[in-house]
Symmetry: none
Subunit: 192 residues, 4 copies
């Protein structure tokens, strides 16, 4: 009967580490982030991290998974909306909502992809899978709008987001995101 006192443990700790990692990796970048940074953010002693993850890479992997689940949740919410156009526009809305964070740190998905693609470990495939899922969902929306070129449009839309995120971040200017989102909205309307 005497346990509390400490923060949750067991599997909770594992998840806490993963999401702390996701956040810190986003804000600091993979290369600039040490295990100690993540451990501190998760309020877990450094040595203990290795009980849950055998290597730093495994922790990064878990962070990608955590981020993936976040995206899944977002997509699930979008799926509540009635029409594919609604859903895509709501996606744009989400991007705009995150513009301040993006201006500071870039798109979490994109910056991870960019950094990990330069590394030999399999982590680049993990983040690619996350983007692939998003791409597939987007493609499905365009397909439901009756577009035969759904894949191409999906690629264009996701690319537009990645690109504008990069510029928003580079110039530290959230308005870039807003303007581009508006433009994309008109574009989507024009496709129906």
């Amino acid at each position: 009967m005497t346990d509390s006192k400490k923060v949750e443990r067991g599997p909770g700790k594992r998840e806490r580490l993963a999401s702390a990692a996701a956040e810190v990796l986003h804000t600091q970048g993979v290369a600039q982030t040490t295990l100690a940074d993540i451990a501190k953010a998760a309020e877990v002693p450094v040595g203990n991290v290795y009980y849950y993850f055998k290597t730093k890479d495994q922790l990064v992997e878990a962070a990608i998974d955590a981020h993936s689940r976040t995206l899944d949740g977002m997509i699930a919410a979008l799926d509540e909306l009635p029409t594919p156009a609604d859903r895509l526009k709501a996606l744009l809305g989400g991007w705009v909502e995150q513009r301040e964070l993006t201006a500071r740190y870039g798109c979490p998905t994109g910056t991870l992809a960019s950094e990990l693609d330069k590394r030999a470990d399999g982590l680049d495939r993990s983040i690619a899978a996350v983007i692939e899922a998003l791409l597939n969902w987007t493609e499905r929306q365009f397909a439901q709008m009756g577009r035969a070129d759904a894949r191409e449009l999906a690629v264009a839309l996701i690319a537009a987001h990645q690109g504008i995120s990069l510029l928003t971040n580079t110039f530290r200017d959230p308005d870039l995101m807003t303007t581009e989102a508006r433009r994309l909205e008109r574009w989507i309307d024009s496709l129906t």
Copy 2:
């Protein structure tokens, strides 16, 4: 008859280091690249690098400058073309030509921007200036096409490139670049 034997030196060496750095930083990423890597690529002993650059950051800066000059040259070539639409399409053509390199390592400008934006040194501002220049040139083309929304279009075009570069790299698929470039070409045509 006595010309080679030793590699060039003097100011040539400085430039050799800078462009070796530009290339290695592109292919390996800033964080994964050690000074020794660059030195080896330039065939210069590590200690000697410091004769030309006081710190690693200064070398990175020089690499950005070198990359910037490359872009300037490219732009200068484009400026030979008669109409703004020609020039923009030729820009697209350049992107397509580089698709294999992009598929492997991403867009050199974009990956640099992405990595450096997470760092406190002023390097992020240097790469931002490079992108800003490209953006301004693009804006001028759209303006010459009579578009009042030239800036917005320029941002959209450059963003499209950055985004598709990221996807091309993430999925190691050069065709993504080709397809998107074709789409953008049609888009440019539609603006006249």
Copy 3:
């Protein structure tokens, strides 16, 4: 029965490092001493030193503190003596006792002060504080002897020690210390 085998650790190690540093810095000088030297003297792997001290300077600071505590102990012992003249003469006695060490390596306090005063870090202020404390104690003794010029006398006495230590060291001649101490003793007697 199972007490040794491994050297002590935990906080004991931190102190071991600090006093090893104090000793090595005294015998080799700050500039000539590498972290590896100190680590070896303390029987600690180099990398581990950084667990206790973030920089070499912090370790030097700790060494100064350690030395300071040694002096405090010495002063505390002197304070047991009945009269200020006794205490001052006992101080002289201590100097004479250390004459061999001084002939080899100089006065630990003085050589540290001399070396650190040429450096920009705050370390020069730390060692100055140590000397200041000694000066204040000495001044108090002269004051208790009823001297109005106690401060001036204190400065003269401490200066005499520093100066004779330098000569003793320069000429590797411990007798210089003995002779000068005797002279100072007579001088103290003459002040009553």
Copy 4:
């Protein structure tokens, strides 16, 4: 007939290097001074230094010699004075005149001695010889004053100077020098 244009050369350069070294070593300390520092101060290209001095140590040795000659000159000037007491007091006067420099950088002789005594090269013997010469001269003055304990007094006086220089430097307080010099003057007067 076409030579000037450049700063003096030949033996002049050697001396310029030696005295530049003397000054820089005094203000920066031996350990903190690089060959490049000295070369720059002497306005001599680094590579050229090695034409005049085979090693850094030889340059330091030359700096000691230069300093020694400066002291010789000072002593020669003192020798113009009528009585030994005059000469010693003039020596004190010189110390006071230099108090600002001493407060900043310590006594050039003493700081050199202190730093070099920690090194294995023979340089410590060179600086010891310089001090020995000064000691001998001082001893002679006291002898001429009829003191049988001339050597002891000489040691005391030079030690006093070294010690007060250290304190003056440590506390960055030139007044310490002034006060102590006055005290020593009274002391000299009391010896006659």
